[in-house]
Each structure stands twice: as C-alpha cells, then as structure tokens.
C-alpha cells in the first residue's frame, strides 16, 4: 500500500461568510458534504492524474446524490465542499492506495458504515471488525473534510481524503528541492504532538528552525516517500500561487483533539507501510492475507485510536506494561514471545483459561492476548469471568466455575477498596484460528475487545499494542 499527498488551492476565492473572526473551518456540520458537489474544474490541482472516464458511481460516504467518477484508477479528491472561511484555504489531499483485491461496486454504498465489511465472511477470512472506515470517515468529516473511495476488483483501491487548511500570512517558504530531499533524509523530530501542526509544514517549506510538526507519529518520511512523491511536492511548492506557503491550522478550538486525530489518521495510512520497524529491512506484509483494501483500512484505522503510543520517544519513567499471553501451543508461545520481545515487551504466559483467571486475580494486567481454543477452560469463558469481576468487583462467577480465589491476592487487587468500586477494564484480544466457532461476534459477545487471527504476525502484534496500550 502506498500513499501520496498533494495540495491544491483555489485561484479565486468564493464569497466568504461574514464571520470573519471565526477562524475555524471545522464545525462538524459544515464539513459534511452537501449536495452541491464542486466539479473538478473549480479546483486548481497541482498534481493531476490521468483518469479513464466511466459511468461508475463514486462512493460518497453519505446519502448525497452520486456524482460520476472514475473507477479503477486513483483519483484526487476533487469532489466536495469547500468550507467557507476567511482568507485563503487550500486542500490537503491524501490518497492511500493499494493493489489488493479491490472492492466490488455493490459493497461501496455501505462501505463506510459501522461493522460493515465487504462480505459476511470477510472477518473470518481477513480479520478486522468493520469499524475502520467508519472511524476514518468520522474523523475526516470532523475535520471538515471528505473521505472517498475508488476501487476496481482485483486491481486495488484508493481511499482519498481531503482536508481544508488555512494558509497563514507568515511563512518561511522555500521551494528548494534540496530542502525537500534534506527533509526526506532526516528523521523529522516528531515529538511535538500538541502544538503547531502544519505550522511550517515541511511539505511546502523545507525545514524551518521550529520542529517539523508533520504529524506522522513514528513513521519516518524517508521510508515512505518515494522519489515521485518528493517531486510532486516540489511541483506543488513551486506552483502555489500564494506567496505564503506555510499552513496554520485554522480551527482554534479543539486544536489538540484535531491534532491527535489527524496525526493518528495519517499515522494510520502510514502504519501500513511495511517499513516501520527497526529490525526489518525487507519486511513485507507477510501475513499471507491478501492486501484487500477493506482489511487494510480497518486495521490501519483501528490504530487511529491510539494516542501517544505512536510517539517513538516514551518517557523513561513510564512503567512497563504488563501483558498476559494465554496460549496452550508451545510453538505459538515461542513465536509470540519473540515478536513481543522485538517490540520491547515481555509477557507472562499461562496455558489455559483457569490459569488466566488466576493470573488476573493475582496481578494487574494492561493487556491480555487470549487464545480461544484451549483445554481445561477456553478463552471465551475465561474472558467472561474476568469481565464479571470487573463489573461486580468479586470473583463469584469464577468460584462457581470451580476456580478457588487466592485469598491474600484478591485483597491486594481490591487494595482496600470496596467491591463496588470501578475495576479498570483490561483490553482482551482474542487470538483466533478463524474457525467457524471463533467468529468475531462470539468474541465480542463474550467480552473481548478485538481479535487477531492466527498465525500471529509481527505486524498484527504491533498494531494491537499500538491500539490497546496507552
């Protein structure tokens, strides 16, 4: 999967609303697409792509009237409303595209709906929860943008989102391609997560003294930006009609939220680029699953909920998360442990559901990876018992199931609090062999938060950690 980002802006401003001091562009309701879709001729696209014309309906993530669009090709997010803001607004357009299994036309209308996947057995084959695109869509629209898709079965898919940004009046603009390659070669300092996003954007600016706040989490631009993309960025910088080329994000309100979300949004798309780990020079997405866009998008989008875990520099003082692996197969244990070790984590290991309950009784875990099929007690039941404790504050259900509580340790778990106090919900991730008896619905019904399909791969573990460990 790859992505590219291009920017285009309007040469002429349409008449603005008179709320001049309202610097925000992103009232959620304004950002929603309306029926008057703009044609592409209104936009000055700096990075045009050849399309083939076709009568295929574009999928717009709303119930708006469809506009014809090209299917089977990548496309700029040309459609969509521009927010009415004072000053000049440009659109940041990001295409995330793959050459996977594609999405059939009949799946497009419901693609962005919650819990929808292309087919009923999609989860069984490819994993995922059906939430990824719905989340992406919400995020993009909350930021005043639009999310669209173009796909061709067996060829691949392109997801495009556009986001509006106000161009500020101050900037250090530099169109020097050397700056861009310098940028591409540098590990951008990425720790500035809360302030100044798109301020002195490296895409258009080259580097300024301030930290480059391109919100990309732990993804290194050099690994994901192709030469072609770098060239297109140069092209963009040169052809931008406004002298100001730095961006400052207009909405003052919800700044931090939006930053985090956008960072995560871009993080999502980039986290799919299979080069993000220290140990993997040639690391490909080797899960053996077809890189179908549905699955990929879901997986990348679920990591949109992670916040600071995507930041590479974690404060030293942070305690190591406690992870429990519940798995009976020795080989699976060995492989999973090794993957965790590569990610810098250790795990406690137990071999069945009873031992898992006992472990939770004696220890406070931040994450549990729970195999479903196990002897003695399976993962579904163990999860039920753990959730029962979390809700009631007692281990009665476990006792009924034959698990004797360890008296001293349950006291320590409660820590002198009364049993009606809230017990933190531990994220429990099912590890399923994709058997019919281990369906997603069953996992959720028993209290699991998510699932990972076996065989477990490095990428799956990594995404899991990013999503569920703060």
């Amino acid at each position: 999967m790859s992505y590219r980002i291009h920017v285009y802006g309007k040469a002429e401003r349409k008449h603005q609303k008179s709320s001049a001091d309202q610097s925000t562009t992103n009232e959620p309701k304004e950002g929603k697409p309306t029926s008057s879709s703009r044609s592409s001729s209104d936009r000055k696209s700096f990075h045009s792509t050849k399309y083939s014309e076709g009568p295929y309906p574009n999928h717009l993530p709303s119930n708006e009237p469809q506009t014809p669009v090209k299917n089977g090709n990548t496309m700029d997010g040309d459609q969509g409303e521009e927010p009415e803001v004072p000053g000049t607004t440009v659109w940041l357009c990001c295409d995330v595209y793959d050459t996977g299994i594609g999405i059939p036309d009949n799946a497009l209308p419901t693609l962005f709906k919650k819990y929808m996947q292309v087919s009923a057995d999609h989860a069984r084959k490819y994993g995922g929860t059906g939430l990824g695109l719905a989340i992406c869509k919400q995020l993009v629209e909350l930021m005043g943008g639009r999310l669209t898709v173009s796909s061709k079965v067996k060829c691949g898919s392109t997801f495009t989102f556009v986001l509006p940004y106000k161009v500020s009046s101050t900037c250090d603009s530099s169109d020097d391609p050397d700056d861009l390659s310098e940028m591409a070669d540098n590990d951008a300092p990425l720790e500035d997560e809360t302030a100044g996003f798109f301020h002195n954007s490296p895409i258009l600016n080259g580097f300024s003294e301030d930290s480059c706040s391109f919100p990309s989490g732990n993804v290194r631009l050099k690994e994901t930006t192709s030469v072609e993309d770098a060239c297109s960025m140069v092209e963009v910088a040169e052809t931008l009609s406004e002298p100001e080329s730095s961006f400052s994000h207009s909405p003052d309100r919800d700044n931090e939220n939006v930053v985090c979300r956008r960072k995560q949004c871009l993080d999502d798309t980039k986290s799919k680029i299979p080069n993000g780990t220290k140990n993997c020079n040639n690391h490909k997405e080797v899960s053996g699953d077809p890189p179908g866009s549905c699955q990929e998008q879901e997986k990348s989008a679920t990591s949109s909920q992670c916040t600071s875990s995507s930041i590479p520099q974690e404060p030293e003082s942070k305690p190591k998360p406690k992870i429990l692996l519940v798995e009976d197969n020795k080989i699976n244990v060995m492989v999973t442990k090794s993957m965790m070790k590569q990610l810098g984590h250790t795990m406690d290991v137990v071999n069945n559901g009873v031992e898992a309950v006992r472990a939770v009784q004696s220890c406070s875990y931040d994450l549990i990876l729970m195999d479903v099929c196990m002897p003695v007690m399976n993962g579904l039941q163990a999860t039920q018992l753990i959730r029962s404790f979390e809700e009631t504050g007692n281990w009665d259900a476990a006792f009924k199931a034959g698990i004797e509580p360890c008296a001293p340790s349950s006291a320590s778990v409660l820590d002198g609090q009364s049993s009606i106090h809230y017990h933190k919900r531990i994220p429990i991730i099912a590890m399923t062999a994709n058997a019919l008896s281990e369906s997603a619905e069953e996992c959720y019904a028993n209290g699991m938060d998510s699932f990972v399909s076996k065989p477990v791969t490095f990428q799956k573990i990594k995404e899991c950690l990013e999503q569920y460990l703060p």
Binding site: N279, C280, N281, N282, H283, K284, V286, S287, G288, D328, N329, K330, I331, N332, M334, V335, S338, M339, K341, Q342, C373, P375, A433, K454, P455, V456, T457, F458
Partner: protein, 154 residues
C-alpha cells in the same frame, strides 16, 4: 564450499521451498525474528515444532488404531498440529490438517487414516528440508558468513 557459494545455495534452496509450497510467508516472519540477539531462533522454533509434531503424530496414530475412535481427541490433536504448523509456516502440513479436521467432523475413520498418512508424509518431507536448510545455515555461520535474509525478497 566457499561462503559465497553456500550463501547462494541457501538463497536458492529457501526460495524453492516457498515455490514448492512447503513453506509459506509465515516462515519469513520467523526469519525476521532472528537477529544478533536471537541468532538461533529459527532452529529453536523448528526443533520445538519437530518435537511437538512427532508427539502429536504418534498420539494420532494410537487414537486412530482404537476400536472405538475418540474423534474429539483426534480433532484436538489435529487442531494442535494445525496451529503449530501454521505458526511456523509449514504450509503443506497445515493444509493437510485442515482436510483432516473435516474428516474428524464427519467421524470418518478411513478418511482420517488417509489424512494421517498424508500428514506424516508431508511432515517428513518438510522436516528433512528444514533440517537441510538449518544445516546449511550453520555451515555458513561456522565459515564466518552471515545468512543473506535480505536476498529473499521475491
């Protein structure tokens, strides 16, 4: 043999194992987990797999020889074998296990016995190939070379 020749042989051999379906992408996951801090990882996992599989195959043979076959037990063994073969990327063995489980579900003794033979055959093949591969790796390392994992992009 020179190190370079051995390395080339290693690359070719590994690629052939993928091409012929003995191994799948999951095996590459294992290879990626092997590094300076974990230099024998693949050999260790593979040897654990051999140990585990041999035990399971012998349990399966015993279970299917019984007058009255306990299909639940048989299925449980096959499930384990499927899990571990899948985790290391032993594709043929894994696929044989998938077929095996349907016969268990049907409670078809003959079908199960045929599957068992097939699994044993494919297991034996992949075992000898993996052993050869690991031996070659050890020779390369002993001669001062490194395993050219990066050349496996295909």
């Amino acid at each position: 043999m020179e190190v370079v020749q051995m390395q080339r042989a290693w690359v070719e051999y590994t690629k052939s194992l993928f091409r012929e379906g003995f191994l799948d992408a999951q095996f590459q996951q294992l290879q990626l987990l092997q590094d300076e801090s974990n230099p024998d990882f693949v050999a260790e996992v593979v040897s654990l797999f051999f140990e585990d599989s041999e035990r399971l195959l012998s349990d399966l043979t015993f279970a299917l020889e019984q007058q009255s076959v306990d299909f639940k037990k048989v299925d449980a063994h096959v499930h384990q074998l499927k899990g571990s073969s899948s985790s290391i990327g032993a594709q043929r063995v894994k696929n044989d296990c998938i077929a095996f489980r349907s016969f268990c579900e049907e409670q078809n003794v003959e079908g199960c016995q045929r599957c068992l033979q097939q699994v044993k055959q494919d297991y034996s093949l992949v075992k000898s190939k993996l052993e050869a591969l690991i031996r070659l790796e050890q020779q390369i390392v002993a001669a001062g070379g490194s395993i050219p994992m990066e050349e496996l992009s295909f």
